[in-house]
């Protein structure tokens, strides 16, 4: 179980990759060491042989053949360790001097250099010899060589050391990789376990941190912060759904009990008809609430921003004013309209119309007989500002944030029909248009301003 997890863990895969790269660089390094030590020794041997051949050739030219033979003999005699090889022959390869019994067989590569293995009668061990062949004037053949058996041994030692070094690298690197990945897996397991418990419903649980401030701690802290945020959002959703449940239950309850009462009584066409009509009215109200909620959710999601078009606010406000003017008059109110010409913002016409209609609706609904409702459109410091002001009771400053939430209805307006969604929709529409929604005092009354951001000039 643990083994398969280890094998599947990306940490292990990473450490294997790391090990391979590390091994490769060790290999290159060792190769460099090998070539610079063994190569140095090789070059040194070759230089010695060259110097000796040069010396012997000089001796030959100065002292002649006999002189050369003498020199060779004395060198052979001096070389007690037998590390040097000499052989001088005539043109028929008959030995004249030296410590080689016969002319060695070799393939002439043109350079004169060659390696040979010589049987050694004294040591019973073949000798590895590096030699150079040289043709002296007068067709005398000369080979000079050096015993390189020692050097070969050293080279083999180096190679052995390199192989062991590689093996050690692999073993230590592998073990290190396994240990590191196990350590990382353990920390990831802690996070996985905690998040699984959270997914299983324990939303209060948090991922433990070690206080080391390392990457894992930072990851855990971020996840915890995310969980906190989710928790807050969940609370918000719970709040809203409680509100929805409450606001939909009321009308549903009224519909149900109304129909039940009608059923329990003797069925008379007229009472049935009235009950059904009441039910339909209630259902229409429910649908309106429902639609408003959907519209708010849509506006808040920001999905509609992509199909914004240029909206002539002056026109839009004039239309809304025209729509509400008779209602205002009927309610005994004066509707004053003051619109600056040619104010354009990018936006969604339907949402803006609905937001403005909601504001006018509220103003007409809450302003007592004889009051005044003012709709104005002015050029603000940034963009156009659309204001609906009334002379109604207004909203106390401490409640102004509160009324923008869904289903909020002030105690004072319990008896006025409404869903408590009107201003929420206005707030959502403002948010979608990046407009600032200001609730202010009209002393007396409420003054709601939608301040649009600076936009493109009307073309």
């Amino acid at each position: 179980m643990i083994a398969t997890k280890l094998l599947r863990s990306s940490t292990l895969r990473l450490s294997i990759l790391h090990m391979a790269a590390f091994g490769l660089s060790v290999l290159v390094l060792l190769w460099f060491i090998y070539s610079s030590t063994a190569g140095f020794m090789e070059r040194q041997t070759d230089e010695t042989i060259n110097a000796e051949i040069q010396g012997l050739a000089e001796q030959y030219s100065q002292l002649g053949l006999t002189g050369l033979i003498r020199v060779i003999k004395s060198r052979v005699a001096k070389d007690k360790a037998g590390s040097s090889v000499y052989l001088l022959t005539d043109w028929k390869f008959n030995p004249l001097a030296g410590n080689l019994p016969e002319w060695p067989k070799f393939k002439d590569t043109g350079s004169g250099w060659f390696d040979a293995t010589l049987e050694d009668t004294e040591n019973f061990e073949p000798r590895r010899v590096r030699m150079r062949y040289f043709l002296l004037p007068g067709n005398f053949h000369l080979v000079v060589g050096r015993d390189v058996s020692e050097r070969v041994k050293v080279e083999r030692l180096i190679v052995d050391a390199l192989i062991w070094g590689m093996l050690l690298t692999v073993v230590l690197g592998g073990a290190g990789g396994v240990l590191t990945s196990r350590w990382m897996l353990k920390r990831i397991d802690v996070i996985t376990k905690a998040s699984r418990e959270i997914m299983n419903g324990d939303l209060t649980r948090r991922i433990p941190t070690r206080g080391a401030g390392d990457e894992f701690d930072r990851l855990a802290e971020n996840l915890n912060a995310m969980l906190d945020q989710i928790g807050r959002l969940m609370d918000g959703v719970k709040q809203v759904s409680n509100n929805i449940a409450h606001d939909l239950r009321g009308p549903l309850n009224r519909i149900r009990s109304g129909l039940e009462i009608t059923l329990s009584r003797p069925l008379e066409p007229e009472t049935c008809r009235q009950a059904l009509e009441r039910a339909i009215t209630e259902i229409d109200g429910l649908l309106q609430t429902f639609n408003a909620l959907l519209t708010i959710a849509q506006a808040e999601s920001g999905a509609r921003r992509q199909d914004f078009t240029d909206i002539d606010l002056t026109n839009l406000a004039a239309d809304a004013a025209e729509l509400y003017e008779p209602v205002a008059e009927e309610a005994g109110l004066t509707l004053e309209v003051d619109l600056a010409p040619q104010m354009t913002v990018p936006g969604n016409r339907h949402l803006l119309s609905q937001a403005l209609a909601n504001l006018l609706d509220n103003a007409v609904k809450y302003t007592p007989d004889g009051g005044r409702v003012t709709l104005s459109l002015t050029a603000g410091p940034a963009g156009p500002e659309l204001t609906v002001a009334d002379t109604g009771p207004g909203i106390p400053p401490e409640h102004r944030e509160f009324v923008l939430e869904r289903f909020t209805r002030l105690e004072s307006s319990r008896n006025t029909p409404g869903s408590g969604l009107g201003l929420s929709l206005v707030a959502a529409a403002a948010g979608l248009h990046q407009a600032e929604l200001r609730l202010g005092d009209n002393s007396p009354g409420l003054r709601v301003t939608l301040a649009f951001p600076a936009g493109r000039a009307k073309s």
Binding site: Q288, V327, A357, D361
Partner: protein, 225 residues
């Protein structure tokens, strides 16, 4: 008048079929998109009521196929998708009207009748006449029994819409959509106030009221009762 209903919700369909039959229509019902495509190709209908979400072929595809085949029968799309964008999509696909579920049957009937009438008067009217109420569309004037009536531009548009649909029920939503171009219902009955103002202007002082309220449905401008 022969109407095809394409609706996969059988209860809703039965209710629609019953209602339309009682209103004097000949009604066929299919529950499946493919079947609907076959029917509109094989038979001639005066109008179709098509649910947008159907098994097999969806409603918008049906409308598109009908239009590309040269079938111009008016189509009323029914949908549970009530967003403005969905509505635009439905009308772009070739639908003539779009009604969001749940709907009132009266609303559906009024819209269907409006669709069926639409095709008939091809020539642009210059004059509309209902009983002794006359509207001059060129001079933008209205007279009743020869006496001129002063109307504001929106009142004129409202009356024009009512006169074009004279004798039939016009719902509040139809008025909001067609006269004000609003696709939402304001909370207060703004439309009622507008209509009652208009009624004041055209019916006051006349024996025979022309503009009447239809309970639970809307309004109707008609010659006699």
């Amino acid at each position: 008048m022969r109407v095809l209903i394409v609706e996969d919700d059988l209860d809703a369909a039965a209710y629609l079929v019953k209602g339309l039959k009682e209103s004097g229509y000949v009604v066929d019902h299919v529950a499946d998109g493919r079947e609907a495509l076959y029917r509109v190709a094989a038979e001639t209908y005066d109008a179709c009521v098509v649910d947008r979400m159907l098994p097999g072929v969806d409603g918008l595809t049906i409308v598109k196929t009908m239009r590309s085949a040269g079938n111009a029968a008016p189509v009323l799309i029914l949908s549970a998708l009530g967003d403005v964008d969905d509505r635009v999509k439905g009308l772009k696909a070739g639908g003539d009207d779009y009604l969001v579920k749940p709907y009132a049957f009266a609303e559906l009937l009024a819209r269907l009748e409006a669709l069926l009438r639409r095709g008939r008067s091809d020539a642009p009217d210059t004059m509309l006449k209902v009983a002794d109420l006359e509207m001059d569309l060129v001079g933008r004037t209205v007279r009743r029994a020869g006496r001129p009536i002063e109307l504001k531009p929106k009142e004129f548009a409202l009356l024009e819409y009512l006169m074009r649909h004279a004798g039939h029920v016009v719902t509040r939503t139809m008025l909001l959509e067609n006269v004000w171009d609003y696709s939402f219902d304001p909370q207060t009955n703004v439309i009622d106030v507008h209509v009652s103002r208009l009624r004041q202007k055209i019916d006051k002082g006349h024996d025979k009221p022309l503009l009447s309220t239809i309970r639970g449905a809307g309004y109707s401008l008609r010659d006699s009762h």
